[in-house]
Point group: C2
Chain length 248, copies 2
C-alpha cells in the first residue's frame, strides 16, 4: 500500500473543530475506525467510507486496545485509505504509540494529524488562558491516579509544582482527587473550573474553589469533563459568584 | 455590532492545520489582524478581507501588545466581521487575555476558536506521544526563564516534577537552559527532541541527550523551534543514533 494510515485527532467533538487536513483525509477515506467520543456529525464528512466503531468506553482497556490494534492492521491490509479517528489529540492521553507500533510492525506506514485537545477547547469556551503573564507561566496536563495503591501519591507533586493544571478524565473521582490534593497541602481556596462537553454546544462550566470540588462527584455529568485548577481561574470564579448559587 | 470578534488559533503554520471553524470564519471575515508566525498560505482563505499585519517578533513586547489591543478595538469599531489570527493556540502562551479584556472593556463581544499548539504538531511530526502508559503520565508546557534575575530558578522545579516537558521559545537560550537544568539535578542522559517548524513541510527534528543541548544554541535555526524533554524520547533517540552523526 502506498498511502500511510492516518491517525487523526478529531478534537473535542464538534464537527468543525477538526483540522482542515483531518477533514480532507476523512473525505477521501475508504475506511474509518472511530472512537466512542467522536460525534456522528463528524462522520458526515466521510459518507463513502466503511465505518468501524472501535469505542471502548466500557470494555477492559488493555484487551480493547489489542483488539483495536488488530482491527487497524486488518483495515490497512484491506483498504487503500485508512483513517483512525481518535477523540482529542492522538499524542496526549491517546495511546497512539501502541497503534503506531502495531501498524509499523505489520509493515504499514502511519502519519499523525494533530487535534484540538480538551484543555484548549475548554479554555476557548471559558475565555480564560491556561497561561497568563505574572499569574501562570506553565501548565501541566495530567490524569489523577486515585486508588491505584502505593504509587498513588506520585501524581500529586507535579500538580503542586505547576502553576495551572488540567486533569483529564477525573470528574467521577472528584471527591478523592480533592481529598488527595488538600491532604498534600494545596490551599482549599484554589480556584477550580469544571468544564463538561468542551467545544460542543452542550458545554457547561462551573467555577468553584477546591474545597467545593467533592460535591461534583455527585452531579452525574453526561458528557466528558475535565478539571482545570489554578489562580488563572480566580477572576472567572469571582465574576460567577452569583451564578454559582444555583448549584449550591 | 452583533458579530463577536473571533480570536482564532492558526495552529503551527500549515494552512490545513487550522480548524474547519477557523477557516470558515476567515472566509467570511471583513478584516483580519494576523501575527508574524502566520504563513501567507493561510491568508489565501480570506482574499476578501482587509489584512493587518500586527507581527511583533522584534518589537518591545509590552508596547506592541498595547498597540495590538488598540488596533483590534479600532477594527471592531469599523468592520462587522473581525478575526484576530494568532499563531498556535490563543490560550497557551498567546496573551489572549489582554486582547479579550481590551475588547470587552471597549464593549465588544469576543469568542475564541482553539488552535493546534506547537507541542501537538511536533509530536505528530515525530510520531512520539507526549504521554505513554508506564513512561509518562503527565506533560508540562512551559517557557524557560533564564537570565531573569532572582526568580530565575522558579521555572525549573515544575520541569523536574513533570514526566515530559515542552519548552516553548527556548532554543536561542539552549546553552543557558541546559546549564540550569543540569545544575538543578536533571540527568545529563535525559532524552531531548528539538523540533523546528513543527507542522510545516520544512519541519526538522534532532533527538539528543540533555548534555548535547548546549550545542543547539549555535545552530542559527531559521524557524520557530521547541524543546521536548523526557523519557518518551528515548526510543526515537536510540533509533536515530546514526542520523545524529551528521550534526556532530
Amino acid at each position: 500500500m502506498s498511502n500511510p494510515v492516518h491517525l487523526i485527532g478529531a478534537g473535542p467533538g464538534a464537527a468543525d473543530l477538526i483540522t482542515v487536513r483531518g477533514m480532507r483525509l476523512l473525505q477521501q477515506a475508504d475506511c474509518v475506525l472511530y472512537d466512542a467520543l467522536v460525534q456522528p456529525e463528524m462522520l458526515a464528512y466521510c459518507p463513502q467510507a466503511v465505518l468501524i466503531d472501535v469505542g471502548k468506553r466500557c470494555a477492559k482497556a488493555s484487551t480493547a486496545q489489542r483488539f483495536i490494534n488488530k482491527m487497524l492492521v486488518d483495515a490497512a491490509s484491506k483498504y487503500a485509505r485508512v483513517v483512525r479517528l481518535k477523540g482529542g489529540d492522538p499524542m496526549l492521553f491517546g495511546r497512539a504509540t501502541e497503534e503506531l507500533v502495531a501498524l509499523r510492525e505489520a509493515g504499514f506506514e502511519a502519519e499523525v494529524v494533530p487535534g484540538i485537545t480538551a484543555a484548549l477547547a475548554a479554555s476557548a469556551d471559558a475565555g480564560v488562558s491556561l497561561t497568563s503573564r505574572g499569574v501562570a507561566r506553565n501548565v501541566l496536563f495530567a490524569t489523577a491516579r486515585v486508588g491505584e495503591g502505593e504509587s498513588a501519591s506520585d501524581w500529586i507533586s507535579p500538580i503542586l509544582a505547576a502553576d495551572t493544571t488540567v486533569l483529564y478524565m477525573g470528574v467521577r473521582q472528584a471527591e478523592a482527587i480533592a481529598k488527595a490534593l488538600l491532604g498534600a497541602g494545596m490551599p482549599a481556596s484554589t480556584p477550580v473550573l469544571v468544564v463538561e462537553n468542551a467545544g460542543l454546544p452542550a458545554c457547561r462550566q462551573w467555577p468553584m474553589r477546591l474545597a467545593q470540588l467533592p460535591d461534583v462527584g455527585d452531579w452525574q455529568l453526561d458528557g466528558p469533563a475535565i478539571l482545570l485548577l489554578g489562580q488563572v481561574y480566580g477572576e472567572v470564579l469571582r465574576a460567577a459568584q452569583d451564578g454559582l448559587r444555583q448549584f449550591a
